[in-house]
Assembly symmetry: C3
Homo-oligomer: 318 residues x 3
């Protein structure tokens, strides 16, 4: 999330009760979680395993629970509980803003766009020109919809990320991390019925221009699809995934978090994508393999009984 | 889609700017895409690979981008862009008709049927007797619901087909083909929560009498189920599929497009159906096989290490 | 379902036209289907295969279609069609109660809870304190939501069970069994967008304290999750399942009915759970196996060609 204007580190340090080290006169331009940090950002880290990664990331200002050496131009904000501090800042700049109307007065609807009754349009939503938003769609606060976008019934744009601070030594293991990012739907995108697209935890979830999505597709937080992707029904994509341009995912494919699928890759139905995947090829299986290799493998499996009989003798094969 | 009354070919030729060859005095009774054509229909074809198939299909009148021999009684309508011509005709006879009320004045609701608040009922919808339509259901224009039908919350009836004209040499690869078909839900059908049933591209999607569907099931365009089918949660069925009577699909099964599953077939959970499947049998796997054979295969796979040790020697097996 | 107060067996016998045998002066405290019976309950049985199981279950009073020996303190209610008798009783005590408002007057909403417009709240629903119920959510009659619960857009709480009386020798094979149970969501639970949680057939579906659910998760009737479970997107859980505390299910997992997954078990994405599963371990596959064993198996399959070449000779391996 970008702040409305740069915020002085000294104000932030006071707000969260932090000891400030390093570039104490800096100004933060936004706050992001580690997967999406940019220069000028605040980030937080509370586990020693990730101290170095965060301190040396693109982020300029690090909320941390231990003193450490500060790289040139950066600052550390030292607190006991960096996660709570992060939440306090995120909630301050993106507070819960109740809606009492089905279509918020602060939403902007472009010329030629039609919103069906029972579609909910949240606060600060921007919808472009010549869109159709079908019944029982929910477009939550701050989301941005381009021109010529069609969203079929029952779809949810901007649900919260499934993203928790986990500690198993307390009564409630999972604490919600506030989602202060947005969903951005680019021009010419069409989204089927019953889809759910989560907002970014701190950055944006983006559906690229001309991408077409079938029904009941789940898109996790901070995921970005390229242009002209084609996503069939019941596909699930976890958080922080990148689909490059022209990727095709057939029905019921699952994609694990924080990975990239290369341009023009095709993933056959019911496959599971567990790691970075090169573009321009066809894949199948759970976990995926080159589709032709996977098909051959299925034939090889059928040859085991013949092999067994040859090696072990006829009577043993039952 | 059937036209309200037969339409003269000469009017159509003028409307889409086509050169007319063959039976120039004919009248078209409807327009359909190639999977569902009937006598009297207009159809379109723009790829040389499918010229013969379309010209020799049941359709009487072919919108095409090249001159060709015309079979007796048929006519060709020659235009530069048959897809655009098809869309122009479909949109003329089935124009976008905005709804400003949650329940359209042109909808008909049968005696004893109850519609919950926040359920959306579109234009020209017909609902039979003694139905229950739960909250946040969306029933889109022209769909037909029989008697004693129950539709649980959040389900969408009549979302558009996921069906695009694809050309990868232009900026936007996928162009939407208008869905002018309907969804027909026959008597005694029960549909769970959060399902999506797409309308036919040009014909009808039909759920057969007495069929019961669990939650979050996706049914593609122009798919037809028989009587007394049982479909468990999270099943996805692509377009133009036929389920014959009494088919059972267990949870999370995926069914590929344009295939038939025979009467009383049973498909175990998480299976993938990729081709025509004979009735009266039990199947499992992705892709499916006879369930017993598939179970045996799983046992055979476990025997590979023993085989390896016998052939390659103990030390090699790690 | 518990009755509002104990009901005399003699009244019930007269109401359903039953012959009463055994403890004829008893009072029933509730009615349940066989998976969930307690002392004082009515239950029904119509298939000889289950006569003994029902008569000797925890239930005190058995609606049955044949005379049999009655255990001490119990009673039999003999009718021609026990299923119809069960439905008559269930519908009498839990009749269909239409809602004409988006938020029922009989619902109770706790302090600090916010209900978005277009969320539907049914009759006798109880919502605790500091909850957020997002747009287009449906919470159906009699469901109970604890404190600090968040339910994202489009989710359905309390859809009917997918539970039918099946007889294939009549025109309509499947007859709906009325769902008179509830859904209970405990404190600190968070539920994503587009989920569906079915009510119990006769008992309660329960989501345990602090459990977090991602989007598009299906939970079947009478299923119970423990505390601090983590359920990722597009998971489907059938009816009468028990997840013990701290279970993690990754995306698109399927869980078959009437089974238990032990505490702290982790099931990897796209797996299928078909039987009782011990806690504290990690599983993968469809059907699931120990995850490490399954990973090894995938490596063994890749060695078949080498084995084939060694045994059958090079030229045969194509």
């Amino acid at each position: 999330m970008q702040f409305p204007s740069p915020v002085s580190l000294q104000w932030i340090a006071e707000f969260i009760g932090a000891k400030l080290l390093g570039n104490v006169n800096g100004n933060a331009t936004g706050i992001n979680e580690i997967h999406k940090v940019e220069k000028g950002d605040l980030v937080f880290v509370d586990h020693p395993k990730y101290y170095d990664k965060c301190i040396n990331s693109a982020a300029s200002f690090i909320i941390i629970n231990k003193e450490a050496a500060v790289p040139e131009g950066k600052a550390l904000l030292i607190v006991d509980n960096p996660f709570e501090a992060y939440c306090k800042i995120a909630n301050h700049f993106r507070p819960f803003e109740p809606s009492t109307k089905v279509q918020s007065d602060s939403a902007t609807i472009g010329e030629g766009s039609f919103i069906y009754p029972t579609a909910f349009i949240g606060n600060h939503v921007i919808i472009g020109k010549n869109c159709i938003i079908y019944p029982n769609v929910s477009i939550m606060d701050h989301c941005i919809i381009g021109d010529n976008v069609i969203i079929q019934s029952g779809t949810v744009i901007g649900s919260d990320a499934f993203y928790y601070n986990t500690k198993k030594d307390r009564e409630m293991w999972y604490k919600k991390m506030p989602s202060c990012g947005r969903v951005i739907i680019e021009d010419e995108v069409e989204i089927g019925a019953g889809c759910t697209i989560d907002r970014g935890v701190s950055h944006d979830t983006i559906i690229g221009k001309g991408t077409k999505m079938d029904n009941m597709i789940h898109i996790g937080h901070d995921t970005i699809t390229g242009k002209n992707c084609l996503i069939a029904a019941q596909v699930g994509i976890a958080g922080v995934v990148t689909l490059e341009d022209g990727v095709t995912l057939w029905g019921q494919v699952g994609v694990n978090k924080t990975l990239t699928i290369g341009a023009n890759a095709v993933i056959f139905a019911q496959s599971g994508v567990g790691k970075d995947t090169a573009g321009g090829k066809v894949y199948f299986g759970s976990p995926i393999e080159d589709a032709k290799e996977k098909m051959k493998e299925l034939v090889w499996i059928k040859r085991i009984p013949e092999l067994w009989e040859k090696v072990m003798g006829k009577s043993s094969a039952t």
